[in-house]
Amino acid sequence: DMDMDASFRSAIVNGETLKMFVGQRVRTVLKFQHTQGGVLVGQSTDGHQLTIRGASEGRESHYLEVIGIADNDQSISAETCKDFDDNFDADAFNGLCKLVVNGKVKEVLL
C-alpha cells in the first residue's frame, strides 16, 4: 500500500547531516566541482566535499540534486540525479537541511 510504504522516502541533507542517515536514502543539492575516477565530486551547501557514485550528469558551475543511499558521511550512491541550474540558493537550502533534523519540525519532512 503506497500510503504506508516509507521505503522510498528520502531525508533532505547537507554535508553535516548526511552522517545521521548512513545506509538510508537521502536527498541533497551540491555544486558540481569535477569528476574523477568515475565518481562525481561536489561541494555541499555547507562547504563539505561530497563524493557521488553513479552520477548520471553534472555540469560545470551548476548545482545538482542527488537522491541515493548514503554510503558514509561523505559519499552517496546515486539513484537519480537532476541538474538544478546555476541560480540555486544554497543558503536557503542549507537552512532547510538544518530545520529538517530539528526536533520541533522534523515530523513535517521525516
Partner: protein
Amino acid sequence: MYNGGDHYDGNGGGAANANSLFSGGGFMPSQTTNTPEGSGGGITKTRGAQTLLPLTVKQIMDASQTNDDKSSFVVNGTEVSTVRLVGRMMNKAERITDVRFILDDGTGRIEVNRWANETSDNTEMGLVKDGDYVIVNGGLKGFQGKRHIVAYSVRLVTNYNDITHHFLYCIYVHLDLAKAKKSATQPQVTANASTWNQAPPPNNQVV
C-alpha cells in the same frame, strides 16, 4: 494566502537569508484566503473560505479525519480542503477524461488526478512529464481509506528554489498552526506569526 510559493524572489546565485523568506505577512488560520488561479498569476476569491495549505505528503498521510463524514482531513487542528504540494511526477497516465500520476515529494507518494475538461487543461498537462518537478494545487480527498489529490493546477517547476521555498513554507505553516492551536487553549498567549520571523521589521513598514 500561501501564494508566495508561486514565485521565488531570491537573488540568482545570491545568498538570500532564509529568514527573509518568512518576512512580511503571516498566516492567520482564521482569515479567509484566496485560491490562486491555475496559472499562478491572477488571484480570484472563490465562494466560501478556502485555505490553501502548503503540505508535504507525509503531513497528508499523518492527517486525522474529521469525525462526521470521514471525508475531511485535519492537520494541526485545521481542517484541510485545498493543498499545495511540490514533488516529482511519476507514472503519468493520460486518459480521455483525465490525467493521473503519482507525486513523490521525498516524504511520501500520493496519487494525483487532474480532470481534463478544457483544452487548456490538456495543454497544461502536456507541459509536464515523468521526472519533472511540479507544483500541484488541488483538493485533498479520501475514498475507501485512501487519500489522493484532485488537482486543479499542475505547473512545471522552472526555478528549483521553489522546491526549497515550498518545504520552508510547510515548516512555517506547521509551526504557525501549532502555535495557534496552543493559544486557543491559552487565551493569555497571543499567536503571533512574527515571533517566528527572526528578521527585524522593515523601517518603512506600511500599515
